[in-house]
């Protein structure tokens, strides 16, 4: 019997939809907005929290859990552009970085079970470093900003963000639509 690609895709699709997390519409709107406001407001009183990239963590979570690269791209693009607008960056710097993060996170979410804490921790570390490196690369290449890339600081901050991300993902799991 010849292999039917259509039926195989259908099986894969059913597997994916079985693991795919669903969220209510208000969660998809409120959580990113709250993340942006938190990132813009709380460091006023606790400056070390400026190093917590909550917008990136939310992007990673929604991209991985929705299992849809297109959704991941849209979430990443929206969060990144909003971040650019609020930080008075040239529009697109964080947009491009987070779009790529959203795409790759969703691609991983399709193939791996991302509900495991270790996988989430690793994904946060890798995507944080990737995001920071890409932003640095674009700043140098596109904006001609001669800034140094501090690997040591980036690795430490990736660990910090990953630990916070683990707790955040656990909280966001509770907002999943159980129906």
């Amino acid at each position: 019997m010849p292999y039917s690609e259509t039926s195989g895709d259908r099986i894969l699709s059913s597997h994916q939809s079985g693991r795919q997390a669903r969220f209510r519409a208000w969660v998809l709107v409120v959580v990113p907005v709250v993340a942006l406001i938190f990132q813009a407001y709380v460091p006023l009183f606790y400056p070390p929290l400026a190093y917590l990239d909550l917008a990136l963590l939310v992007t990673i979570y929604f991209a991985m859990m929705r299992h849809s690269p297109i959704n991941g791209i849209l979430v990443g693009c929206g969060m990144g552009l909003a971040q650019d607008a609020l930080a008075h960056n040239p529009l697109g710097m964080y947009g491009i970085c987070k779009t790529l993060v959203g795409f790759f996170a969703a691609s991983i979410g399709v193939r791996i079970d991302v509900s495991q804490p270790f996988v989430r921790l690793l994904a946060c570390v890798v995507f944080y470093v990737f995001h920071q490196f890409l932003f640095w690369l674009m700043s140098r290449a596109l904006l001609d900003k001669l800034i140094d890339f501090d690997w040591q600081q980036t690795l430490i901050l990736s660990g910090f963000n990953a630990v916070v991300g683990l707790a955040l993902f656990h909280f966001l799991d509770k907002l999943k639509d159980k129906d």
Partner: protein, 392 residues
């Protein structure tokens, strides 16, 4: 073709989004004010929520603050009633007066005494990245705030408005590397350009290495940048180093040291004079004890003298020996041989070690301008043309 696009639709969509954002990025870099709509949406979306959060925080903080103040006041009242001490009562009154002088009152007082026109604003958001030093203020173009206006506190400059929206505005802090302002030092009036150093410090560029800048010297705005009115405090020089061509000067901006929450936006700036430098108060009078009384042994010790002193005393002893008065026009015989007793008596008045020694044989008087060390002292014989020694 359709099936191909359907199969790779994620990649296609990603590429479309990336290309679109690259175009947007290029356009934004070329025209910073060209894409206002996205910024306007983002700020308009976030600002009301942030204002509600800030108001809630202020209210809760105020309630708790007042509650604890009230508790302290009651405790103090009980203590006062128990002690019945008038001095403590006065002290408490003064403390409570100081406690009520909050920042808003300080800002209002500054507004009254300063000739410039200000709009008070609160910092409600900060940048969403750790790299840039940008804050969002709760006053926008509805309150006459425009791009390029200065943001200050009574302590010093804070930043400048880089974008004004209807209900909010974004300000670039002085510590941002892209910030620049003209400054002048208070004491030596050295001009330079203030730049953010990225951290909590600022640096002052374009100060020639030959210029004089002291550590701790206060810097004020020079008004050359047409943003900050002249005469606003900037900060004290913390580090001053000489470079090959320019000085390296670092300072902590005084406007950011207190972590400002309320700021003033200069709507109409008026230049003022840089305050005159006031030298620090001289040290207090220091008690110096009486000198140690000299013992006889000390008195017998000869005083230190130079070659000129010794020569002068030698001439004085010659004048005394010949009963000559200097300054009368005549010239004494400087080659005369003075007895030791007379020489010792002449040197006693001058307390010179040189005159206590046995006087040297008379030497020919060198002409004016001749170095003394070159004076020959070979013999005591008078040379030709010189007067013979005269005995008294």
């Amino acid at each position: 073709m359709d099936s191909l696009l359907n199969r790779y639709r994620s990649i296609t969509f990603l590429l479309v989004m990336l290309v679109a954002q690259m175009i947007l990025l290029a356009y934004t870099v070329k025209n910073p004010d060209g894409v206002r709509l996205i910024r306007l949406w983002a700020v308009t979306l976030v600002t009301p929520i942030a204002q509600v959060a800030e108001t809630t925080r202020s209210t809760v903080y105020g309630v708790f603050h007042n509650y604890f103040d009230l508790r302290d006041a009651r405790a103090q009242n009980r203590r006062i009633q128990a002690e019945r001490d008038q001095l403590k009562l006065e002290n408490l009154y003064l403390k409570s007066e100081l406690g009520t002088a909050d920042r808003v009152k300080a800002l209002a007082a500054f507004q009254v005494r300063s000739p410039s026109k200000y709009v008070a604003a609160r910092i409600i958001l900060t940048a969403t990245t750790s790299a840039s030093k940008i804050v969002v203020l709760d006053r926008g173009s509805n309150s006459e705030v425009e791009k390029g206006m200065a943001v200050i506190t009574p302590d010093g400059i804070v930043g400048k408005i880089i974008d004004a929206f209807p209900t909010a505005s974004q300000a670039l802090l002085v510590t941002d590397p892209e910030f620049a302002a003209g400054v002048v030092s208070q004491k030596n009036h050295v001009k330079g350009i203030l730049h953010g150093a990225g951290s909590g410090k600022c640096r002052i560029d374009n100060v020639q290495a030959e210029e004089k800048v002291d550590v701790g010297e206060m810097f004020f705005t020079s008004g050359d940048d047409r943003i900050f009115p002249r005469g606003l405090p900037v900060g004290k020089a913390d580090v001053v180093k000489d470079g090959p061509q320019y000085k390296e000067i670092l300072l902590y901006p005084s406007g950011l040291q207190a972590g400002p929450e309320e700021v003033l936006i200069v709507v109409a700036g008026v230049h003022q004079e840089v305050p005159a430098y006031e030298a620090p108060q001289p040290d207090q009078k220091v008690y110096i004890g009486p000198p140690v009384p000299q013992s006889k042994a000390d008195e017998s010790m000869p005083a230190l003298s130079t070659e000129a002193d010794r020569l002068r005393e030698h001439y004085q002893s010659i004048g005394k020996f010949e009963n000559h008065t200097f300054g009368t026009g005549s010239v004494p015989n400087f080659n005369v041989k003075i007895p030791a007793a007379v020489a010792a008596a002449g040197s006693a008045a001058g307390t010179s070690a040189a005159t206590e020694k046995k006087p040297e044989p008379s030497k020919p008087v060198p002409p004016p301008g001749t170095p003394l060390a070159t004076t020959p002292a070979k013999n005591n014989e008078p040379s030709a043309g010189e007067a013979p020694p005269q005995n008294p």
